[in-house]
C-alpha cells in the first residue's frame, strides 16, 4: 500500500467532513462500499434487488429518491472498474435548505483497502469505515517516573494522552526523630520497591489494553537512577517487558514529562507524523525569528509568495476552514477577493 502524502490525507479529511454535513430528508442517502475483489456484475445485481425492494417504501418522495440514487449509481458502475483499494459511492437527494433537495454523488477512492462490501441506506452517509482509516493506530507506551511520582500515557498518532498518575509514599530526606538511619533506609527501600511494583502493574494494564499488533513499544523516561533501577527490576508484565525501546533522561515526571519524553526519544520516533510535523514547525519558527525572510505567515503574504512561485514548504492548519469569495461588478471593472472563515456545520458553511 502506497503511503499517503500529508496533502492527500488532508484532502481526504476535508472530503469526509463535507460528507458528514450532508443530510437527507428521509432514509434516502445511499453509501456503497465495494471492496477491490468484488465483481461489478454482482454489485449490479444486488443493486437491482435493492431497487425493486425500494418500491415498497411508503413515502412517495423517499421511494423516488432512493430509486433515483440507485439508478444513478448503476449508470456510473457500467463504466467503472474497481481500483486497487476498492471504491465508495455516496449518492442521494441531499437537503440543501429552502425546502429543496439536490441529487448528488461523491466518489471516494479510499487510502486503504475496503474489507467488506456494504450497502447502506440512511438519512446521513455511512462514514465510519473511512473514518477508521484516518485513525493512526501505531501506539507507543510512555512512562515517566522518579521516587516521588509516575505518569503512564500513550502516544497514538499525533496524540499524547496521560492515563494514570501515581504518587509514592517513599520518604524523602526528612527523617522522623528517633528512627535509626539503618531502619529508615530499610523502610525506604521497601517503599521504593512497592512503588515500582505499583507503577509496573498500572503501566502494564494500560499498555496491554492496546491492540498488541499496533503496539510499537515502551519508552521510559525520568531522571537517573530511578528509571534504570525500575527497568532492571522486571516490574512490567512479561509481554510488555520485551517491548521496552529505551530509557531517556527526562526531568519532569508528571503530565509534563510525557511530551518531554517523546521529544527526548525523538530519534527513535523519527518517522512518526508527529515528529515530522514538529520538525517542520521548528524549522518554520527558527526561520521566522532569524529574520532571514525565508518564512512568512498569514494568508495574504503566503498567497503572494505562492503566486511568484517562492514557496518550498507550505504549512496549512488542519483546523482552517475558509471560503474564497470573489465580488465582481457586472458593469465596471471592480473586483475584490476575500476569504471568510467559518465553522463546519454552520448555516453559512458552503457545502459541496
Amino acid at each position: 500500500m502506497a503511503e499517503q502524502s500529508s496533502h492527500q490525507k488532508y484532502e481526504f479529511k476535508k472530503k469526509l467532513e463535507s460528507l458528514r454535513g450532508k443530510k437527507g430528508r428521509g432514509t434516502e442517502l445511499i453509501s456503497l462500499y465495494i471492496p477491490p475483489d468484488k465483481q461489478i456484475s454482482d454489485v449490479v445485481s444486488q443493486l437491482r434487488n435493492e431497487h425493486s425492494q425500494a418500491s415498497n417504501i411508503k413515502s412517495k418522495l423517499t421511494k423516488t429518491n432512493v430509486q433515483g440514487a440507485i439508478d444513478s449509481i448503476m449508470s456510473r458502475l457500467r463504466y467503472g472498474t474497481v481500483p486497487e483499494n476498492g471504491i465508495v459511492y455516496f449518492t442521494g437527494a441531499v437537503d440543501v435548505g429552502a425546502n429543496k433537495t439536490n441529487m448528488e454523488t461523491t466518489i471516494v477512492e479510499p487510502p486503504q483497502p475496503i474489507i467488506t462490501y456494504r450497502y447502506h441506506c440512511d438519512s446521513s452517509f455511512f462514514l465510519s469505515p473511512l473514518e477508521d482509516m484516518l485513525k493512526e493506530a501505531k501506539t507507543y507506551g510512555l512512562l515517566v517516573l522518579d521516587r516521588r511520582e509516575a505518569t503512564v500515557g500513550l502516544l497514538t498518532g499525533k496524540q499524547i494522552e496521560a492515563f494514570r498518575k501515581l504518587t509514592s509514599t517513599v520518604p524523602g530526606k526528612q527523617r522522623k526523630g528517633g528512627q535509626s538511619a539503618h531502619r529508615f533506609q530499610q523502610l525506604r527501600l521497601i517503599a521504593i520497591h512497592d512503588f515500582y511494583k505499583r507503577i509496573g502493574d498500572a503501566a502494564s494494564e494500560v499498555f496491554l489494553s492496546v491492540d498488541q499488533k499496533d503496539f510499537e513499544g515502551v519508552l521510559i523516561g525520568g531522571p537517573s537512577p530511578t528509571k534504570e533501577e525500575f527497568e532492571s527490576g522486571n516490574f512490567f508484565h512479561h509481554e510488555i517487558e520485551k517491548k521496552v525501546l529505551g530509557l531517556f533522561d527526562v526531568a519532569y515526571t508528571d503530565e509534563s514529562g510525557l511530551p518531554e519524553l517523546v521529544n527526548a526519544a525523538g530519534e527513535r520516533l523519527e518517522d512518526l507524523d508527529l515528529m515530522v510535523e514538529k520538525k517542520l514547525m521548528q524549522q518554520f519558527f527558527r526561520e521566522l525569528v532569524s529574520d532571514s525572510g525565508k518564512a512568512t505567515y498569514g494568508e495574504d503574504n503566503v498567497r503572494e509568495n505562492l503566486i511568484i512561485g517562492a514557496v518550498d514548504i507550505l504549512l496549512i492548519s488542519e483546523d482552517l476552514r475558509a471560503v474564497r469569495e470573489t465580488v465582481k461588478c457586472t458593469s465596471c471593472d471592480y473586483e475584490r477577493k476575500t476569504s471568510r472563515e467559518f465553522k463546519p456545520g454552520d448555516s453559512s458553511s458552503p457545502t459541496g
Binding site: T167, T169, P171, G172, K173, Q174, R175, K176, G177, A181, Q185, R188, L189, P223, S224, P225, E229, D249, V250, A251, Y252, D254, E255, S256, E260, N263, Q282, F285, R286, L288, V289, Y297
Partner: protein, 422 residues
C-alpha cells in the same frame, strides 16, 4: 535560638562543583556536625571508593545519592554563626533535578553560588543564578571553589570572577556588591578564617560574609501564605505539611485553608528544627499539623492561608514575562512548565497581549503573533491544573514564576492579575 535572627540560605551551582562538600564543611566548621561523624563517613565512603565525598555525605543522606555521588533532592539543615542561625538548603546541580533546586531556592533569603575554579561558569551555573533572581533572592555570595585543584592561582580566580560577574550583571545582580571568595571546600580554605594558601586574597572568609548578610524584611502584615514543600504522613500525628512561611503569621489554634483542595482545619502544632512553637513568622521553615486534614488534601505546590482569606486559585492570570532563551518563536498555544513558589504546573499561553521594550517597559506592539528570546511581553496564561498564584502587587512572594521547557529555563515573569477559579 530565638535570640538570634534566622536566615534561609540556599547553596546553588553546577553539578559536581562541590556544593554538598561545601555545606558539609560549613556544618563541620560551625560545630553543627561533630568531627567523629565526619570520620565515620570517611571510613564508610572509602569502602565504597568514594572517599572524597565524606563531607558531602552530611547532606547526601540517600543511598542512591551516596552511591552515585550526586545530590538528588533538597534537604534542610541548621547551623549557627555568632550572629545568625541558618537553615541551609543544599540544592542539586544536575540538570535533571532543577525542579528540586527551584523548590529549595524558592525558600531562601540568600544564596551561596559555588563555582568550581577549574571549570568556571557552566550551564546550571547560569540557570541557577537566573532562577534565584527570578525567585526573589537578592543577596548572593560567590564561592570560587576547588581552588586547591587550580593551584590556588590568583589569575584563575580572577578569570572566574570576571566570568561570573558578567553573568550576574546580565541577570540584574550588582556584581560589585556581591562578595567573591576563593575556597576549597575539600581543604577548608577561607571558610572560617583566611587561608595561607591564598595570600593574595585579602577579603573576608565565608563566615564573615554570612554575618554580613542582612535579614530581609518580614512581610508579616500581609495575609498568611505558606507554600507546601512536602507533606508527610506520620503515624500517631497525621498529615504534616512542611514549608516556609512566605507572608503573614500563623498561630496555634488558627483556622487555615489549603488551596486548591479547599481543605480547612485548625492548627494543632507548629514545629521548627524539632522544637515546638506557638507561632510562625515569615522566613520560618516549619512543619505544622492541622486537625482534620487528610493525606490527599495537601501536596507539594499547594498553599496554606487563613480560612477567611484563602490563597487565590487561578482560572487564568495575566503576567509580564521576559524571554531569556528560546531556539525559536513562542506563540499562543505553547504549554511549557511554570514554576511558582513550590508549585510546578504546565500552563498554556492563551494570548500575547503586548510586546514591551525590555528596557523601558514601553509598549512596542499590540497583540503580536509571536515573541522570541530577548522580548518582554504581557501575556494571558491558563494553568492546565488548578494552581495558586497571587498578583505581585498584593503578595509579591507568591507572584513570581519561572518558565521551563526542553530542559532549560526559558523565561521569568510576574503575575499582574488573577481571574479566580469559581
Amino acid at each position: 535560638m530565638a535570640d538570634k535572627p534566622h536566615m534561609n540560605l540556599a547553596v546553588i551551582g553546577h553539578v559536581d562543583h562541590g556544593k554538598s562538600t561545601f555545606v558539609g564543611r560549613l556544618m563541620f566548621e560551625t560545630g553543627a556536625v561533630p568531627a567523629h561523624l565526619i570520620e565515620k563517613y570517611k571510613a564508610e565512603a572509602k569502602e565504597k571508593g568514594k572517599e572524597s565525598f565524606a563531607f558531602a555525605w552530611v547532606m547526601d543522606t540517600l543511598k542512591e545519592e551516596r552511591e552515585r555521588g550526586v545530590t538528588i533532592d533538597i534537604s534542610h539543615k541548621r547551623f549557627d554563626t555568632d550572629k545568625y542561625y541558618f537553615t541551609v538548603v543544599d540544592c542539586p546541580g544536575h540538570r535533571d533535578f532543577v525542579k528540586n533546586m527551584i523548590t529549595g531556592a524558592s525558600q531562601a533569603d540568600a544564596a551561596v553560588l559555588v563555582v568550581a575554579a577549574p571549570d568556571g561558569v557552566m550551564a546550571q551555573t547560569k540557570e541557577h543564578v537566573f532562577l534565584s533572581r527570578t525567585l526573589g533572592i537578592n543577596q548572593l555570595i560567590v564561592a570560587v571553589n576547588k581552588m586547591d585543584a587550580a593551584d590556588y592561582s590568583e589569575d584563575r580566580y580572577n578569570e572566574v570572577k570576571k566570568e561570573v560577574s558578567q553573568l550576574l550583571g546580565m541577570v540584574g545582580f550588582k556584581a560589585e556588591d556581591v562578595p567573591f571568595i576563593p575556597t576549597s571546600a575539600f581543604e577548608g580554605d577561607n571558610i572560617t578564617k583566611s587561608s595561607a594558601n591564598t595570600p593574595w586574597y585579602t577579603g573576608p572568609a565565608l563566615l564573615e560574609c554570612l554575618n554580613n548578610l542582612t535579614v530581609p524584611s518580614k512581610p508579616d502584615t500581609l495575609p498568611l501564605r505558606i507554600p507546601v514543600q512536602d507533606a508527610y504522613t506520620i503515624s500517631g500525628i497525621g498529615t504534616v505539611p512542611v514549608g516556609r512561611v512566605e507572608t503573614g503569621i500563623m498561630k496555634k489554634g488558627q483556622k487555615v485553608t489549603f488551596m486548591p483542595s479547599g481543605a480547612t482545619g485548625e492548627v494543632k502544632s507548629i514545629e521548627m528544627h524539632h522544637e515546638e512553637w506557638d507561632q510562625a513568622v515569615p522566613g520560618d521553615n516549619i512543619g505544622w499539623n492541622v486537625r482534620g486534614i487528610g493525606k490527599n488534601d495537601v501536596r507539594r505546590g499547594d498553599v496554606c492561608g487563613p480560612a477567611e482569606k484563602p490563597p487565590s486559585v487561578a482560572e487564568e492570570f495575566t503576567g509580564q514575562i521576559v524571554v531569556l532563551q528560546h531556539p525559536s518563536a513562542i506563540t499562543v498555544g505553547y504549554t511549557p512548565v511554570f514554576h511558582c513558589h513550590t508549585a510546578q504546573t504546565a500552563c498554556t499561553l492563551m494570548a500575547i497581549n503586548k510586546k514591551l521594550d525590555p528596557k523601558s517597559g514601553q509598549v512596542k506592539e499590540e497583540n503580536p503573533t509571536y515573541i522570541k528570546a530577548g522580548d518582554a511581553a504581557i501575556v494571558t496564561i491558563k494553568p492546565t491544573r488548578p494552581m495558586c498564584i497571587e498578583p505581585v502587587s498584593e503578595i509579591p512572594q507568591l507572584g513570581r514564576f519561572a518558565i521551563r521547557d526542553m530542559g532549560m529555563t526559558i523565561a521569568a515573569g510576574m503575575c499582574m492579575s488573577v481571574t479566580q477559579k469559581k
